[in-house]
């Protein structure tokens, strides 16, 4: 093992990263700095976290509030592309990784560390996302991934490891479901979900109410969209993070934003998860609603292609690449016109745009309907069709001739 003096660990306060602190010190004989990213995972996870880190052996613990930045610099740009991984997943976990990695790198540079460490397992996507960001942002720093090195293979082993070292830990032995949360989403994996023929049960959902238990009364919410970004809710101007938390609250109440998906991990195998993205689902629906009014046919199709591409880039941890910049620049350009207002109805698990309008709307009652107008003459269509189908006609005449 190479010589390392000071390592900055992405620390969550959970069982894994608690064990990593002493393990790093023992195996690398180095100082460990705990870095905590506040991405809206919830107060309960942050309370007393500094004390916990120190008690586990960290020489310092830094907490960075990344909540607003995550929404404005990562989530909003992604939403403009319309990225949904494999048609469904709003990329909740993926979206948080680059911003955490970037802040962790900044911390490492500041404290003069020579290594970075994360607690991601060796079968997941997150290790790739963290380490791809590290490679792009600080290629000279060493990376330690304990889960690919140590021989601790179970919660029991980890708890024993901590107990042996008399490091206090409140984690329970039994933990059926593994979860990840940030302001944008919460994910649940494991337990009954491991058999795809099982239905999710009530333990698979955390934030949102079961649609069947949601209010019988629908609720509407009005969103103001400016250049592809939600800027106000129900007439109230808000920061991006405020928009998200406000919509999370409303969406959760109506069971909005649940998906149960078997997805392709970047590392080659499939996994199943239940994801909740209540606010995100509402925003996505709202943006697409405004787009219906303002994007022409070709722009809409390209936006869909961009979303498909972006979904893979983001899922695969390629945020800090020239390709991602290029895709985001293209989406940003399309979003220039995406300004308008939509009313979204929330009811029993669904968010549906029921009203929409925009100063950039290409829809015109006058043009679309039956009668004559200035910009469109029925007779134009004849010529259009003739040219539009000309190659089919020539091909068919050709084939006829050959017979």
């Amino acid at each position: 093992m190479s010589t390392i003096k000071k390592v900055v660990l992405a620390y969550s306060g959970g069982l894994d990263t608690s064990a990593i602190i002493p393990w790093l010190k023992e195996n690398y004989d180095c100082e460990v700095i705990a870095f905590v990213a506040d991405v809206g995972q919830g107060e309960e996870e942050l309370v007393g976290i500094e004390e916990k880190a120190i008690a586990s052996g960290a020489s310092a613990c830094y907490i960075a509030d990344l909540k607003e930045e995550m929404v404005s610099e990562y989530i909003y740009p992604s939403l403009k592309t319309g990225a949904m991984y494999e048609g469904k997943y709003l990329l909740g976990t993926s979206m948080a990784r680059p911003i955490i990695a970037k802040a962790q790198v900044e911390c490492a540079l500041e404290v003069g560390a020579d290594a970075l460490c994360h607690g991601c397992t060796g079968k997941g996507n997150d290790q790739v996302r963290f380490e791809s960001a590290f490679a792009a942002l600080a290629p000279h720093l060493k990376v330690i991934a304990p889960w690919r090195e140590w021989d601790l293979r179970s919660r029991e082993a980890l708890l024993d490891y901590l107990a042996e070292r008399k490091i206090p830990c409140t984690a329970s032995l039994e933990k059926i479901y593994s979860r990840d949360a940030n302001a944008w989403h919460i994910s649940t994996e494991g337990g009954v979900l491991e058999d795809t023929w099982n239905q999710p049960n009530e333990l698979c959902w955390v934030w949102t109410v079961d649609p069947e238990q949601a209010p019988d009364q629908a609720e509407t919410v009005t969103l103001m969209v400016e250049k592809g970004e939600v800027t106000a809710v129900d007439g109230q101007a808000m920061s991006p993070y405020q928009v998200l938390t406000t919509l999370n609250e409303k969406g959760s109440r109506h069971g909005v934003g649940r998906i149960d998906i078997v997805e392709n991990r970047l590392v080659g195998m499939k996994s199943r998860g239940c994801y909740e993205t209540p606010g995100g689902t509402i925003m996505m629906e709202a943006l697409r609603g405004v787009e219906q009014l303002v994007l022409d046919k070709d722009c809409f199709e390209f936006r869909e292609e961009l979303g498909l591409k972006a979904s893979h880039l983001i899922y695969d941890g390629r945020w800090f690449t020239p390709l991602c910049k290029s895709i985001l620049a293209a989406a940003d350009e399309l979003a220039e016109a995406v300004t308008g207002e939509v009313v979204v109805k929330l009811y029993k698990g669904q968010a549906t745009v029921v009203q929409k309008r925009s100063i950039n709307s290409l829809y015109s009652e006058e043009f679309a309907t039956f009668g004559e107008d200035d910009v469109y003459d029925h007779s134009h269509a004849g010529g259009f069709i003739r040219l539009y189908s000309l190659s089919s006609r020539i091909r068919a005449l050709n084939e006829k001739k050959q017979k």
Copy 2:
């Protein structure tokens, strides 16, 4: 106007095509054959249609039952691609046009007609779809599109036109909403929908119950999928058309398959419609569920690209083109593995896959979860990540060196 002796009209029995028959005879001095395509638009539209056609002046009326063929030869192949126009629309009207046009051409060739006629308006997509099919299948036949020729400009004018000729007609003067139906879907346009800031009202929906009025009790339905096609419902093997009608019935009862969309027409303007595709929505959800199990990452992405492309081809009336054949061939190949069983839950407007399994499933509890296994070693990930992020690393080292 060129000389035409016999024309085959795509006849629906409605006001427009009823007026077209005498108009054709008067303006082209030709024999008119009414051709009726039964694509599952409903018995009420077909009852007495032959008599009606004759009473309007047609010399003959042929009715072709295209229901099974439409589902098996047009809808099923489209579903394999995953085509949803502009992210939402299951292409209900679009899908019916090529099969009607093809059968109409066959009728024309059989009766020795020298022209084809349709009743589509000059601002819509359907004229393009019909005439593109005609160009590909019978480029030597003349095409007459009365709506682009005559000066009848309102329902009142059409009713007067018929009355003057003493042709009986039961159509009412007032018709706020224009609708199109076939086994796959029903669409509603006009009325309150013409202002995008208006919510749809109860007149905008025909087949499906309002989700808010749907049963409080969810229902599940089990679908068997073989090579991308639904072959059985709740254990009962069925023909494609039977599958569709069975699922239409179930879906409608739970308010499943409604969309309210502003879409880009092929002819350059936007229009708004409320579409209901209850059975189709369930099938689409079911197929995507099986795909989650059997398609790998790259296949899934390509299937999504094919769906995007196919959605435009089908919407734009390019079914009978080599490009469409090529896209369908690609999708067919991917669908080879799409075999499995899914349970779909219907509740208050939603169809959600809650259970799924497949003999071709690439998901494996053993591979996805925490522990070691034969095919995957945690340590593999280290090398993977290193190579995966190599260009980022080289780029970053390069940039560092330049500073």
Copy 3:
């Protein structure tokens, strides 16, 4: 015909637009302003053009020098995308149309005209390019396309038309080949080219020497590329237009940049042309050479996709659309790294990059070759391959099990 008071005509001084001036005055009873765009079509076409326009009946003639702007604002951005229409065509005619149309619109707004006119025929692409630009830039101005209106159907008819009006014209009766030129390219259509089984003859090529007659001695030229733009030739810093003319001269001498293509026109039929783009071919080759050094695998692939898309947008006259802006923004982002130096060898019709280097080069002798190094360890590959082929492995194991 609607009332028009003053029309601005895109005037070339050739036979067609010379006849259009009196035709417009007679048929629209309006004032005609001749607008001449200097896009580098050559001095001989511009000499005395103002007098000619006045003699033909124009009330004024404005000449705009668009040469530098065309190269810097249209050609350079296009080159960053790598756009080659149908794999071969550097879009010489297409690229000039939007800039001419834009300047023509500006002229019309300045002189207070109420209409725009062009001399493009009714079977070509240029009418679409002009009128699409007009629609985007000045939708309120009327557009007159005489070739789609008048009944003049031959050069003879046009010459007679002018002679009857005693308008002097030096055009000859016989003109076998039709050509279009600007600083970027010259095209030749018609004559022997109308049969695809004919070889082009010496009349089909204008600027470039026949490769078989080109110097037996190869020549090299060194290009400096900065952010995707050629900024210096053989050590000499130059403006974009100077770069182009310098390379045109060099390329022509060696027979570089000829293509003989049957292409799909936007209006549905195919046409054949011989195009010469000597300088452009050298630049394209040079840019792609630098890209080989600096773009990673995914970026290179996306750049190719952008080029494919851009080739259609530009060919189809969709320059002034949000989609085009979006594509160009994406390409611009990728071009950020495209800085370097290349040596291009010119020999008997070919331009080949033989040397290349870049400060952003991701190529490293150290990494690519046999030995060990810091950033890459042979053993990493084992893990990479294992994960890379994991889904194939699982699929194959699955199939084995099923047997």
Copy 4:
């Protein structure tokens, strides 16, 4: 190291695989079967190869003649897609790997081996291509990649290794360039090429004459193309492999098919190579020539997209995947119409189609030229343009209104 009894080695007779035989026996204590694939790499490499293998310690040596199969089952399908990796590379090495791997697997299954071995280095693409094929075709067999295991790090070490074991070997100590050849191409890497600022020298090219030394007299060759496959040369019907060798001979004589490229390897770094594909370059040019006649605009664009995708699939060793099957099926469908005849001119390094014709040609002198005809009316264009640019017009009117 796991227990292995019998391993089948992809044996070339070169230094590396000669050393691998004893190394396998010593390190795995197993029987080694040498498998030689004849993919047209040349007689000189095959002469006495069986004796050599036995002398090195192999218990048996099997030679499979894959030449015809390689061209008909791998190269021809690839050519239909138009695949050129990173715009230039005809995938010469990539294309041979899957067929070798497949035959090697078949050999292994026949002789009852439990492992497969290849001699690819740990920094290249070929290891991935071989092992991806193995994973798809025989996931149960172990794979041994000595270059990632042993500590032999130079030609000298390998020669010493063989000498110590008294295994005869004619390989020289000094070998500046590394080459790979099959019927389709020969590649050269290393030496002066390692600095991208160096020009290739005469040692970098093996098959083809220097264009500057090629005949001053151009030569033409006539190719018959049927459904995307070259079936005859100069009037002579030939098997695919015969076509290839015939065109290789002709192309080489004129210096056709050289490229000098810096490419992105799959494993993350860039490498530079000089590749010669004389026959392939002629065929590619010929196929694209016929396509110009028979593919409409949309088909041509999709074929280009397929080529782009296929280039990555083939380069990346993903031949035996459902995605590759899907792409090839799509290309096959498009190739249905690609039938015709072309004359290709060979001159000083270039292959240029100078004549082309096809019974499926959509080109028509009548349609493309000036005059009126039956299928196209000048006036159609007006309507086409109006609708084509409608969204631009509505957008622009909208913007005007907002001012």
